[in-house]
Amino acid sequence: MPIDEHALKIDEGRCTGCVECTRSCPAKAIRVRDGIAEVMAERCIDCGECYRVCPQGAIVPVTTTHTDLSAFKYKVALPSPALYSQFGPNILPEDVLHALLSIGFDLAYDKAYACEMVFGEVKDYIEQNHSREPFISPVCPAVTRLVQLMFPELTSLILPFRPPREVAAKAIKMDVSNRLGIREDEIAVIHITPCLAKLAAMINPPTGEKSYLDGAVGISEIYAQLLTALKQREKKVDEIPELLHRSSGMGIGFGRVGGEVTDLGFEESLAVSGVQDTISILRDLERRKLQNMKYLECQICPGGCIGGPLTVQNRYIASHTISKFVGLFGSKPQVEEMMKSGEQERAHFRLAKSINPVSIPPLDTDTSFAIGKMRLREEILRKLPGKNCAACGAPDCLTLADDIVRGRASIEDCVFIRADGQYRRIKGKGARKR
């Protein structure tokens, strides 16, 4: 069963209840119950750490299938710039985009170009609206959700812009519809994604507005097909009607951490990647330690999108390839003429609704009751062994105590307490002192 409003499911046939996922989850959103992992949808941030660590392959991304796609008349691939980094520096973005056509897409749109387009606007917006605290990048959906859940007070700092993939999806639909006379609802824009988070944000957008994307396919899912298509690419060169790749090295750079910051060019900005480092920098921001910074780029995956759980290439090699492309395609964004165009288009870059906190439920919505439960939780915690072994199915003793207070677990779930109870029954009283 897919987890509500998220992009993964647990394959119960494969799950052995080993607790690796539980322990790896930065949001403490997974419990093992009756030998099977369960994801608490309201806490999951879609970072994909569980998918990375699961030794059984029991965490399964719920991506778009061929059957889903066949419902559409016209299919457009919108690849993350990270896709360009997956085949080494000798396969150019143009080749990759054409390979997407060979495997069945009707059009492949250079998303890196949309990144340059949106960030041209972002730069002006920050110049005009920046106050004492930095804006948080709106690009990585797992970071947005992390902020909404764990740093509710920082939600207002998320830059009120649609991520480039959404801007591009809308522009593609309008353009294809105008040119080819196909209704917008017959056009599918499919994100070729390095992660689960983009898919989750499509199913459950942070503002509640409907996403313009119609699906997402993991890079790893079509990698083999693309490799085959790339090997045969020589044959197709003559048929190329127009250049698909339009971005400079700047847009391609969005595939790795630092791409946004480099494009914006503000000295007072920071780029951070990896879930622990992201949490730690957000903590500093919460403590007002980043005053006078203008922009904070956070990417939940180490190294940025090239480190996504659905990528194939080693992320250091991928980063090297991106460096090569930056050198090759230069660092001058290719969108200047676009910037002078339509007010309407530019208005669409901005979010229509604001992003609101979706705080993790407190112990109780009434502080008086919450205080009572907190005391109870401390009492329970003192009884637990403090080994954080996760054998109970919760990631650590504090979380088990929390689950008990919230009525989701019992103290007997602790193997030490259970064993101790049995020992006492055999040996009589006083077998355990704590």
Binding site: T365, D366, A370
Partner: protein
């Protein structure tokens, strides 16, 4: 509200430990979030607690942070064994600092610690004995505290 409803927790802070410095105030912040206080109040308390904690890390040998929470009042008492403060009035001024170069190199000691604590709390009391240590008591009241977040 029932004033008998109290949650308290005592946390230790080690002087000179910049690696773990900040963990106790982080813990306090987590607790306040779980107790359903409004985000703006949690953030103010978090900042005040963090600055106080870092004062121990930077200047004192060791210290403790005592958190006491009732539904309408968050009290944090920070007590340290350390050099104490000679002139409290001077120390409360923005930009005044006795931090060593080493501490400044690490990005601390800008002389904003005590002023920040004051700015982010509703009541602040500070007493100090030179050569013995410092005691800071911070109170953040939860009624209508949101609008006090003047630093935004």
């Amino acid at each position: 509200m029932n004033d008998n409803v109290v949650f308290s927790q005592k946390l230790d802070v080690e002087g000179g430990d910049f690696i773990r410095g900040g963990e106790s105030s982080c813990r306090i912040l987590e607790i306040l979030k779980e107790l359903a206080f409004p985000p703006a109040i949690v953030r103010r308390a978090g900042i005040a607690a963090y600055e106080a904690e870092m004062n121990i890390v930077m200047y004192a040998d060791r210290g403790t942070m005592d958190l006491k929470v009732t539904p309408d009042r968050i009290t944090i008492i920070i007590q340290d064994e350390g050099p104490g403060i000679e002139d409290i009035e001077l120390a409360m001024q923005e930009g005044y600092s006795t931090a060593t170069d080493k501490i400044r190199e690490m990005g601390f000691g800008a002389g904003m610690g005590l002023p920040n604590i004051k700015k982010n709390s509703d009541e602040m009391e500070i007493t100090s004995t030179v050569g013995r240590g410092t005691r800071i008591s911070i109170v953040i009241t939860t009624n209508g505290g949101d609008s006090r977040d003047a630093d935004r």
